[in-house]
């Protein structure tokens, strides 16, 4: 991992911004590049730690096998579901037209 102040390039940041669906101006990208590079440089100190025989810990708990029964519970009404929708037609959420294919490859 790089420890220089520019761990990321403007291009890297622009790509990440698209992945994260954030519109950033050029000035914001430049600023973000500096800030993220610094933070990434800082967190890279974890490279000092020998974790070769350590498994990742995704949950602080050691619980397993938590389920619910296949029993129906009340749903929201359509009005409740659409209540906070920026645009809807009384039945469905409305978003700008999507052409053709589904989101996932």
């Amino acid at each position: 991992m790089s420890t220089s102040s520019q761990a990321l390039s403007d291009e890297d940041v622009a790509k990440v911004a698209l992945l994260a669906r954030l519109a950033l101006s050029e000035a914001e990208i430049a600023r973000m590049t500096g800030e993220l590079s610094k933070i990434v440089g800082f967190v890279s100190m974890l490279g000092e730690v020998d974790t070769s025989s350590v498994a990742p810990l995704a949950h602080p708990l050691d619980t397993q096998n938590i389920f619910r029964d296949d029993l129906p519970t009340p749903s929201l009404t359509t009005a409740e579901a659409l209540q906070a929708a920026p645009r809807h037609d009384g039945e469905c959420f409305l978003v700008p037209a999507v052409l053709g294919e589904s989101g996932a490859a």
Binding site: K15, L18, L19, R21, P56, A58, H59, L61, T63, Q64, N65, I66, F67, R68, D69, D70, L71, P72, T73, P74, S75, L76, T77, T78, A81, L82, R87, D89, E91, C92, F93, L94, V95, P96, A97, V98, L99, G100, E101, S102, G103, A104, A105
Partner: protein, 491 residues
């Protein structure tokens, strides 16, 4: 001598089946098909702020059942992961799925053509459990710039089944899908109804083309989407194989020289079309789902599910063939109709004491009329005891098979018992004395036939059957014919 194939079509399938639970994978909303938009939603499946998922136990059990039926290894420890991407039918901005530790892997399902045209063992790479997305609807006719989103389907439990690229023809692919559907329907895992979206298929296909120098050239793999029936799958694969062959001949582009292409099947036009390449390649940034805890599966649990599962179609077929000495074809026809019809058949065959006759009656009479009437075999008014009764009387000689069919039809429409119908049709066994008398009467009236038979043409006696039945419809044609021949011999 068969020529070496010009190319081999290599097909792998990715199948999504909706599990037959009452409620969604992570919440208690109904999974019923066809409800008005956004009436089966709650904070969890809407992805509202602060909402949390909790795993549906029955969904996991059905998934285990499917995986065991597909001969998969069950992982003793499994977990869920977030697959992150933005799309309006995915309200959380991520799908809860399984990435590196799916609950099952390394299985297989064989498809055998009952007519013997092919037999293919298809490996299964993995089966995992994930949630479905909602539905986006584009009403291009209305000319609006909007897409409508219905989240009723969001959160429905899905099993994703990924095969090895072991299939070698569109026909095999279609047959395999039918076998998969039959299996999953038999096990009560899913109703596999493509029209309702409870089964979806994407296919990966390319060609292996032997070269003059002994090398095998491989065309780039194409993923085909938007096939809405098993027939479409077959047609799409057939089209695509030819298209790739023609493209190969024109361009000689091999696999690895370009990224995997996705094409959509256009059923009315009968072609595949390239789908728009996304600007960014999909980086799903998988990481373990922190809101769900992992699941462990014990050997005892697996054994219990296996024990409660019931036999899959392959085992049922082989069992019927062995127990009742019927053909593979016959066993296939019966098993395809479902567990209840197989049970009906076995009850009938047990009563009759024999399988072939019972199987014939099933196919020619029971199934035919069942399909005409509609309804299930459980609702079918003629029960195995009645059919067995008819078959028994035929065997005794009370009447012949064609008479028996009439009786069956009458029992079906009238609802009356076999005994009653037999009596009302005036069917009674013809006594030997009456038969002899009838024979003598007709022989006397037909000297030419007597002469023919005496001359060696025994089959001429059959010409009298029609007259005999006119006089007495209960005459058993076979018995009558033999009687005539015997009498003539004695003359």
């Amino acid at each position: 001598m068969t020529a070496a194939p010009v190319y081999t079509t290599i097909i792998g399938l990715e199948v999504h089946v909706q599990l037959q639970t009452r409620t969604k994978l992570f919440c208690g909303c109904s999974t019923r098909f066809g409800a008005p938009p956004n009436t089966q939603v709650c904070p969890t499946c809407l992805g509202l702020p602060g909402s949390l998922p909790v795993m549906n136990r029955h969904a996991f059990e059905l998934a285990l059942r499917a995986a065991l039926a597909l001969d998969c290894r069950i992982a003793p420890f499994t977990k869920w992961d977030r697959k992150n991407y933005f799309y309006p039918d995915l309200p959380k901005g991520y799908q809860i799925s399984q990435y590196d530790l799916p609950f099952s892997s390394d299985g297989q399902l064989e498809v055998v053509d009952p007519k013997g045209a092919f037999s293919r063992r298809v490996g299964i790479i993995r089966v995992h459990l994930e949630e479905d997305a909602g539905k986006s609807m584009h009403d291009e006719a209305a000319g609006t710039a909007d897409t409508r989103i219905d989240l009723n389907r969001a959160g429905t439990p899905l099993c994703e089944i990924v095969t090895q690229p072991d299939l070698r023809s569109p026909q095999e692919a279609r047959a395999w899908l039918n076998e998969l559907k039959l299996l999953l329907v038999y096990l009560g895992v899913s109703d596999c109804n493509m029209q309702e979206g409870s089964l979806r298929v994407d296919a990966n296909v390319n060609l292996h083309i032997p070269q003059p120098d002994g090398r095998v050239a491989k065309t780039p793999i194409v993923e085909i989407k938007n096939m809405n029936s098993f027939r479409s799958v077959e047609r799409a694969l057939a089209y695509e194989a030819v298209r790739q062959w023609e493209e190969w001949q024109a361009t000689k582009v091999e696999m690895g020289k370009m990224p995997k292409q996705t094409r959509g099947w256009d059923d009315p036009a009968g072609i595949t079309r390239p789908q728009r390449q996304k600007e960014e390649s999909s980086d799903y940034r998988y990481f373990p789902e922190p809101d769900l805890v992992p699941v462990t599966v014990s050997d005892a649990q697996v054994a219990a599910i296996r024990a409660a599962m019931g036999d899959p179609p392959t085992v049922l077929r082989k069992g019927l063939e062995a127990r009742w000495k019927i053909s593979a074809y016959d066993a296939d026809v019966l098993v395809n109709q479902g567990r209840d019809l197989v049970a009906y058949f076995e009850e009938l065959a047990t009563l009759v004491g024999e399988g072939k006759v019972a199987s014939n009656w099933m196919q020619q009479d029971v199934l035919r009329t069942l399909n005409e009437r509609g309804g299930t075999i459980g609702e079918f008014p003629v029960r195995p005891t009645a059919v067995a009764d008819i078959i028994g009387r035929i065997a005794k000689g009370d009447f012949d098979t064609s008479r028996g069919r009439e009786i069956f039809a009458e029992v079906l429409t009238s609802g009356r018992a076999v005994e009653e119908v037999v009596a009302s049709l005036g069917i009674a066994a013809v006594s030997d004395d009456d038969l002899v008398a009838l024979c003598r009467e007709l022989l006397a009236a037909n000297p030419k036939i007597v002469a023919d038979v005496k001359g060696g043409k025994e089959q001429a006696a059959a010409g009298l059957i029609g007259q005999a039945r006119k006089k007495n419809p209960n005459v058993n044609p076979g018995k009558f014919r033999q009687m005539c021949i015997d009498l003539i011999k004695g003359m």
